[in-house]
Symmetry: C2
Subunit: 466 residues, 2 copies
């Protein structure tokens, strides 16, 4: 842990230096020096340097590290570099390394393997049954994110017996642990505080000093729900139980933190039609496969907008200046509505908006829409009036254009705030994630309504002999 | 901890029941029953029920709870309800309650008070010096998020002496703790694993069993950097030291989790011009104050788009169908570019894209832009051809319109992917958060370039006697 007191900046520079040293050592064939050098660092830093090493250097370096060291590095590697890394190890070596890895991480690694490697690797694992069972569970449940290394003490042991057990077991979570107690069937019964454990007389039974009713999650709980629970109760970890109530693992807050960062990335990606695994470095052909479908859907929605506008060709020929106000009426409705939908989407996600509140939010947003619609409509109408010196070929400023622009902008802003507050609620009702689909639906709505209002009103007016 | 085994759904229903019971008890004046009932729940659940109680009921209930109970509830309340809650307590009561609250939370609460209450409350606090010092530190540094309750053992104590100390001190973090060791100046020296502590002979000195070089953060570290560090090393907590290296607090992973959720909300809000404190429930007038400035900036950008388009009035009069393709060319450029900018913004935020990688990403995105530009351009050109039966008054399908639309779409998509990969990097270079400003700049760019390309090309062509 050389890195204890360094700033992140210094850490980055130090890892850059380490990278260059390793390249030099490996190039000179001084493999032992290289191994000794990298082993001075925390496995998290080792993983980081491995990620930025040239492939040839990395491969040679790996042959000199112990299986246990490599296992520790695997634990800290991000998903994508880990996959690349594992692809360079043959099945026997990988199986040997996975012995030293938590079975939850092992399941993760096996799952990422190409299909033809899964069985050969699995069959060589000592804990293949546990790993296979984990693989059979859905990817977003707690069992796939917990740590399966959890310490359990029998509640009918004495404090003395528990001490002996700890002395023998040497729990490897060096800095902390929870003392969970279980019954003879491994069912979670309680938790003993370290203080009570240390200060109780040796002959006392754990069941007499434990706190019963530990807050827990089931291994099939959705990870987001588990994360909410952990945050709600301000805990550093949650014990995980199976369907019989037996203690099977521990969900740690730092793991949840990792998951949340990954999920946030996924959500942000999905919003613009990027797959969860998208990367700025993926090859162009892969990018096309992943990104084009969403773009094509957007293109088709755009086609329909084009179709709407094209229906008003005659109107536009008479009053081409209308075209200048199409983008602003449609786009600004989108802007105003996106504020509303963002508030509502986030409020729903954080459970701040309950069913009881939906009506209140709608009324507030509608009021906001009316007030802001009046303001934005007036400003845009003023611009329209100023620009309208040749509207409809009259050669004069046009109150008509100004009024049409005002009504279209006002109407679209009001519809946008209403839509922005209703679309997320409707999507949630139909079990679609509001965070992902709200923006697309909202901007489609504001585009179409904006064009229809602006061009439709103008068309009526012009037909009326404006 | 009645809630140990309930699902979130069940928990919500139970809290709803509790709410109704409390209302009934309070209405009947059975205050002790109400207090006894709520005290059966975890403070986190008490806080949640307090949030949904009618104000009158809440105020009466509070008068029957002990200061210590209220302090625990304050600890779990979200910022906004906490502010409301605190506004109902008078200065003396609040000061009495704050005695039971961690000084970091107390500083947070005092900071939210209206100016005229700050000094009166501060002056009544026993730990006013510590709280004032915290208040003098920037809001986003670790000191404002850590827990100041951290246990420290002197490294020159024997294991026996440490045992005695723990027996007396009764550390109140019941389920876990870290055994940090310090020297006579309270300087952080190491950490003792619980196992080593339990199993070492009583006369051994802590310094002989501690792990030196603990990974730590300084109290003035930016909280995001500290969070990165915690995630990087997979830790449940980081010890926090002051400028002399003295141990002053503990940054817990669950606190970091809370901060990250709050920060994510802030970022998402700022992206659509909502202040960090925006709420779906804030009064309309406040919403106007907070939301309108950003909307007006967007409106002005839109005004400039309108101005660009208005310069091509003559062109649009000749070929009104062009107007139908304005939104799709501009908007779809925005769609394609937003994928790129999202990848780059996220890559920069997670430190996946370093300076070394920028060139690679630009080249890949440019290739993607060219390939997808050809596809989107062709599809849109086909639509233009199909729609063009009366383009420019010719009465025939127009290859010209199709070609212009193709070129405009192709050009805008390529510019969008280039812009999407460059804008975030430039913003970061100029110390503007790419996550916040990239979208606005990108869509402004794609709007303007889209209109200029489409209408500009058409104008040249028509002038050339198309």
């Amino acid at each position: 842990m050389v890195s204890a007191q360094r700033s992140l900046q210094e850490n980055e520079e130090l890892l850059e230096t380490l990278r260059n040293e390793l390249i030099t050592f490996v190039d000179q064939g001084q493999m032992e020096l290289a191994a000794a050098r990298i082993e001075l660092f925390h496995p998290a830093d080792q993983a980081e340097v491995i990620e930025i090493l040239p492939e040839a250097v990395r491969d040679r370096l790996l042959t000199t590290l112990s299986d246990e060291d490599i296992a520790e590095i695997l634990d800290f590697l991000d998903e994508e570099p880990r996959e690349r890394f594992v692809s360079r190890l043959d099945n026997a070596v990988l199986a040997r390394i996975l012995v030293f890895v938590d079975e939850v991480v092992a399941a993760d690694i096996v799952e990422q393997l190409p299909d033809e490697r899964v069985q050969p690797v699995l069959s060589q694992l000592a804990n293949r049954e546990e790993v296979s069972e984990l693989l059979s569970l859905p990817e977003d449940c707690v069992a796939r994110w917990m740590s399966s290394e959890v310490l359990s003490l029998r509640s009918d042991w004495t404090v003395q017996a528990a001490f002996e057990f700890l002395r023998k077991e040497k729990p490897n979570s060096g800095e902390h642990f929870y003392l969970y107690t279980v019954d003879e069937d491994q069912k979670l019964q309680g938790v003993v505080s370290i203080r009570d454990f240390i200060t109780a007389p040796p002959e006392v039974l754990l069941r007499d000093i434990m706190v019963p009713d530990v807050i827990r999650v089931s291994q099939t709980t959705d990870q987001e729900q588990a994360a909410d629970r952990l945050r709600h109760y301000g805990l550093l970890a949650l014990p995980v139980v199976d369907e019989t109530g037996a203690l099977v693992g521990l969900l740690r807050a730092d793991e949840v933190l990792n998951v949340q960062v990954e999920e946030a990335t996924e959500d942000i990606y999905l919003q613009v039609g990027l797959g969860a695994d998208a990367s700025p470095f993926s090859p162009v052909m892969e990018a096309i496969k992943v990104r084009v479908p969403w773009l094509i859907i957007n293109l088709l929605i755009g086609f329909f907008s084009a179709f709407i506008v094209s229906r008003f060709q005659a109107t536009l020929e008479q009053a081409a200046l209308l075209a200048a106000f199409m983008p602003i009426v449609a786009g600004h409705g989108g802007n105003a509505g996106s504020q509303t939908s963002t508030l509502v989407v986030r409020g729903l996600a954080l459970n701040e908006i309950s069913r009881r509140d939906v009506g209140t939010v709608w009324r507030k947003e509608a009021s906001f829409g009316v007030i802001y619609g009046l303001l934005a409509g007036s400003l845009t109408a003023a611009l329209a009036y100023a620009m309208s010196s040749n509207y409809g070929g009259s050669g004069q400023h046009s109150w008509h254009l100004a009024l049409i622009v005002f009504l279209a902008m006002f109407g679209n802003v009001v519809m946008a705030t209403l839509g922005g507050s209703m679309i997320p609620v409707l999507l949630k009702h139909f079990k679609v994630d509001p965070a992902l689909a709200s923006t697309v639906w909202l901007t489609t709505l504001t585009d179409w309504i904006g064009f229809l209002l602006l061009l439709g009103l103008a068309s009526l007016w012009l037909k009326g002999g404006m």
